[in-house]
Symmetry: C2
Subunit: 146 residues, 2 copies
């Protein structure tokens, strides 16, 4: 069972627990079925290479979902993901691990909510941030029970 | 709208209308999602070649389904497919057309049903029967209305 994170436990500059992913071509095929995105660059090697890619590449929306998991794993069940966005700056390929990372950039209250902004990204084994983004989470506060 | 085939219209030795299929890797990925069979030989080229295959190959169950379509397209909406089986003798690859074919081998009545047995198969461009099988259909009869 996931532990619950409270707003009081968070400080600006804090790092999120890293999320290691080892994507496979099988996962891309499963994601194609789940998402309905059957573009061949995500599973057909010769097609991908014919389009100038090194190999088949991860769906951008799957990488976005990995970042969502980074946030929700950290927040715990009572947290709420208010906003998440990312940019696809670099390609990631199955067979190459990628790690979701993040830091808290701002901690604040607004409209009665206890909020944290985070810088988040996926990083490859070379330390390149292929998929940087930002997210905002609303957390429970110890000051209002919960 | 499909035309209806009646038992009286069928003669032993009659050929079924051929069914041409042009399978693609995309179709195999879609079939993987639909069937839950995510074995890599059906979409991952290097994995397939590493297993001694020429390339990714069609799911056997998909070829069985093509033969099912061969039969049901022919029978029309009032026909009933009573039995179908096939053997996977040869591999078929995406990008290579295959054609479903069949002939009526027996026409008979049994237990009040108007039945036809068929020899059916998938054939590649070289005329090789990669997937031979048999099927039995129950058809409506003009003698009992319809």
């Amino acid at each position: 069972m996931a532990e619950q994170l409270y707003w009081e436990d968070v400080a600006e500059g804090m790092e999120l627990p890293p999320l290691v992913k080892n994507p496979t071509t099988r996962q891309l095929v499963q994601y194609a079925g789940a998402s309905g995105d059957f573009y061949e660059i995500h599973y057909a090697l010769e097609y991908a290479r014919g389009n100038g890619l090194e190999g088949v590449i991860l769906h951008g929306a799957l990488k976005n979902a990995f970042l969502g998991q980074l946030m929700t794993d950290w927040m715990g069940p009572q947290g709420a993901l208010k906003r998440l966005s990312c940019q696809y700056r670099g390609m990631d390929l199955p067979g190459r691990p990628i790690t979701g990372k993040g830091t808290v950039t701002r901690k604040y209250q607004q409209d009665g909510q206890f909020l944290v902004d985070c810088a988040i990204w996926l990083e490859n084994a070379q330390g390149e941030k292929t998929t940087p983004g930002t997210a905002t989470a609303a957390l429970p506060s110890r000051s209002v029970g919960g």
